[in-house]
């Protein structure tokens, strides 16, 4: 092989990844046009956000304006969207006559632009919504639902990015090992809940992609594969994540660990450390800065949901600790029952069940036995991964584990903190399984690590089982959603 062709080969994406991405794209497009409009969590609020930007050129959140435009409210009404949300026995509109009547309705520019009020998404930073303005405009010759479909389809590329990030991360951790990379990337590519969320209108799709990139860049820095370009990149990507959704602040401690580890391990002394930290900081500030300035000028919180809850000083830390304990473990005799928590263990209901299947507004579920079977399977995979970790403990870079652990623990801690504070006022739990999806590439790593415990002669079959099993789950999930809404 000549140098040029070797270089060309090196730069060409692996065929296995391309086929997986093609699968992901096909599935994403199908989910985008199968789920009825506004039947994904808070999708109505996210559409209202984009419409406010596209039609008014303004961020939403004006207390004097309605939640959504006249056009969107009429569309939701025509499709029976609000009634269908969370109510299994209610269906979206099935009448062709009413659908045709909707298509005949014309909405003035004013009726498209009279939204922009406060809604559950209006406190979010704007990056994802800005991305959706061009597809919104491109489809604006059609009706509202043309624009909803266009925006959903425009979200699918972020899923491809998430899958690519998982592939690359596995490449850093395992070295260039296509089967293990395929196993790792198959998790975000084929897990139905991930496709469902990423193919709906929600900033989560971009958040998952950016988190994946942060994990990959951080792993490169820690393992010494990255350089100063990666330092600048991780700062910029973390900033993009922060400008996408406030949850992303949970990534920052892990980013700091990655950058610091790289700086301390690289030769060059204190000056090099200072240069690295400044570079990361400048990259972050350059990307996130304009949003902070805009938020300041607009007199709105830059960090979305992080602001506005009860002050930290008012929190009863003992009670908070008890809530976290009861979330995962049986209540101890001296602990008061936390009223917001449902049937024990809440972690199974929220983190597990909602991650493997809670479609629509969480109401469309698998039968209970399916969750139980999937849980056993997940527990076995996790146990196998732990065995592999113990076996390979001498080869492992402890800082890589610290980096991953920081990402997991900070996200969980942030979610619990936020949920606890919100539940104090409302008595209702707000976390959902999808909130853990920024960690999807790590879930992929767990699956791939588990695969290494399988004897070599059986490993190919096991990989076929992983990919086939996830593909089968996709089919069943599509069937479940189609029958819930249309049968």
């Amino acid at each position: 092989m000549t140098n040029t062709s070797a270089e060309h080969h090196r730069r060409r994406p692996p065929a296995a990844l391309l086929f997986l991405l093609a699968t992901t794209l096909a599935l994403g497009c199908v989910w985008a046009v199968v789920v009825p409009p506004f039947q994904a969590p808070d999708e109505n609020a996210h559409v209202a956000y984009v419409q406010s930007l596209a039609e008014r050129g303004q961020l939403p959140g004006d207390t004097a304006r309605p939640f959504q435009s006249t056009e969107q409210a009429s569309g939701a009404d025509a499709d029976n969207a609000d009634q269908t949300a969370q109510q299994l026995f209610v269906k979206p509109e099935w009448s062709t006559r009413r659908h045709d009547a909707w298509l005949e309705r014309q909405f003035s520019a004013e009726e498209r632009s009279d939204g922009g009020g406060v809604n559950p998404a209006s406190a979010n930073p704007p990056l994802y919504y800005l991305w959706l303005v061009p597809p919104y405009e491109v489809a604006s010759g059609g009706d509202l639902f043309d624009r909803v479909s266009a925006m959903r389809l425009a979200s699918v590329p972020f899923l491809l990015l998430t899958v690519t990030a998982a592939w690359l991360l596995a490449g850093v951790v395992f070295g260039p090992n296509r089967p293990l990379q395929l196993a790792a990337a198959s998790v975000p590519a084929l897990l139905p809940m991930v496709t469902f969320i990423s193919a709906s209108i929600t900033p989560d799709s971009l958040l998952y992609a950016l988190s994946g990139l942060v994990l990959w860049l951080g792993a490169r820095l820690i393992t010494g594969r990255g350089g100063l370009r990666d330092v600048a990149a991780i700062g910029a990507v973390a900033a993009l994540a922060v400008v996408t959704k406030a949850t992303s602040y949970a990534l920052l401690p892990a980013v700091a660990i990655a950058v610091l580890t790289y700086a301390l391990r690289a030769a060059g002394g204190r000056r090099r450390v200072a240069l690295t930290l400044v570079l990361a900081g400048v990259a972050f500030a350059t990307v996130a800065g304009p949003w902070y300035v805009t938020a300041r000028l607009e007199d709105r919180p830059a960090s979305g949901q992080l602001a506005g809850s009860a002050p930290a000083s008012a929190v009863d830390y003992r009670e908070f600790g008890s809530y976290v304990w009861q979330y995962y473990l049986p209540r101890l005799p001296f602990q008061a029952r936390n009223g917001a928590l449902g049937r024990y263990p809440q972690a199974y209901e929220t983190w597990f069940k909602q991650s493997v299947g809670a479609f629509g507004w969480l109401e469309t579920r698998w039968p209970g036995t399916v969750y139980a079977a999937l849980f056993v399977l997940a527990a076995l995979i996790l146990a196998a991964a732990l065995v592999a970790l113990v076996r390979r403990r001498r080869e492992l870079d402890p800082m890589l584990l610290v980096f991953f652990a920081a990402a997991v623990v900070t996200l969980l801690a942030g979610l619990h903190w936020n949920e606890y504070r919100l539940a104090e006022g409302s008595g209702i739990l707000s976390s959902q399984g999808r909130y853990l999806f920024p960690l999807l590439p790590l879930a992929g790593l767990v699956a791939a690590t588990a695969l290494t415990t399988v004897p070599a002669r059986l490993r190919a079959g096991a990989l076929g089982l992983v990919v086939g099993g996830l593909s089968a789950l996709q089919l069943f999930a599509l069937a479940l959603v189609v029958t819930r809404f249309y049968a």
């Binding site: 509109e93 489809a139 639902f145 190919a460 079959g461 990919v467 249309y486």
Partner: protein, 226 residues
């Protein structure tokens, strides 16, 4: 080595497709369509000879049974009649008389005298034929946007819980044309049943081939680089 992976993949996916087909063929669905009104409370009290009608209801699929929830205020089953009429004027399309055999506040399935065909706009009317009051269950008027209930011709501000059923239950496979037609609604001007048929066929082909190709490439390709 790729052969093992491909074989396992094909076995798992093949089993899933077989299971799906089996579920689609043997499944029995008796619901034609629903107003989507939950039986939250007794929303209308029918005194003797009172009549409550929910209208206008577009018949989305033909039906010959109705599911209702009636309360008798603790008494044994009380007689009542049901009629399905054109939403405007005209002769009843189907009807039924119920003289007993149901428990207080229970969901009951009422068999109509004949099938009501698809496409008409109808009113479903319940008349109390007892000497004691009967309660009809439903929910707020917001539950169903396109129809509402009228007690002796006057709006009640509530919707009735009515589910429309067919006696010959159908499998999901039989309902596929209707499912695809419904899925194509409210997704924009490009969406049509034909486009959805093509899309569903393509995704089956894609799921059966693309991951298999990914597996083969991952296990065959010698150059392994990040």
């Amino acid at each position: 080595m790729p052969r093992n992976a491909l074989l396992t993949f094909a076995l798992v996916l093949g089993a899933a497709i077989t299971a799906l087909i089996a579920l689609a063929v043997v499944g029995d669905r008796s619901q034609a369509f629903t107003l989507g009104v939950r039986a939250d409370a007794a929303v209308v009290k029918l005194r003797p000879r009172d009549e409550v009608c929910q209208r206008p209801i577009e018949v989305l699929e033909s039906f010959d049974h109705l599911r209702l929830q009636l309360g008798t205020y603790g008494r044994p089953a009380l007689p009542y009649s049901v009629e399905v009429r054109p939403a405007g004027a005209g002769r009843p399309l189907a009807g039924a008389s119920v003289s007993g055999g149901y428990a207080d506040s229970s969901l009951q399935s009422v068999r109509l005298s004949r099938e009501v065909p698809t496409g008409r706009e109808v009113a479903v009317c319940i008349r109390n034929r007892a000497r004691q009051p009967v309660a009809v269950y439903g929910s707020s008027d917001l539950s169903n946007r396109s129809s509402t209930s009228y007690l002796n011709g006057r709006q009640t501000g509530a919707d009735l819980t009515i589910v429309f059923e067919f006696s010959d239950s159908k499998s999901t496979a039989e309902l596929l044309p209707a499912i695809v037609r419904r899925a194509a609604l409210f997704h924009g001007g490009w969406a049509s049943p034909a486009a959805y048929w093509v899309m569903f066929a393509l995704i089956l082909v894609a799921l059966a081939t693309l991951p298999a190709l990914a597996l083969r490439s991952a296990l065959e390709r010698a150059p392994n680089r990040e």
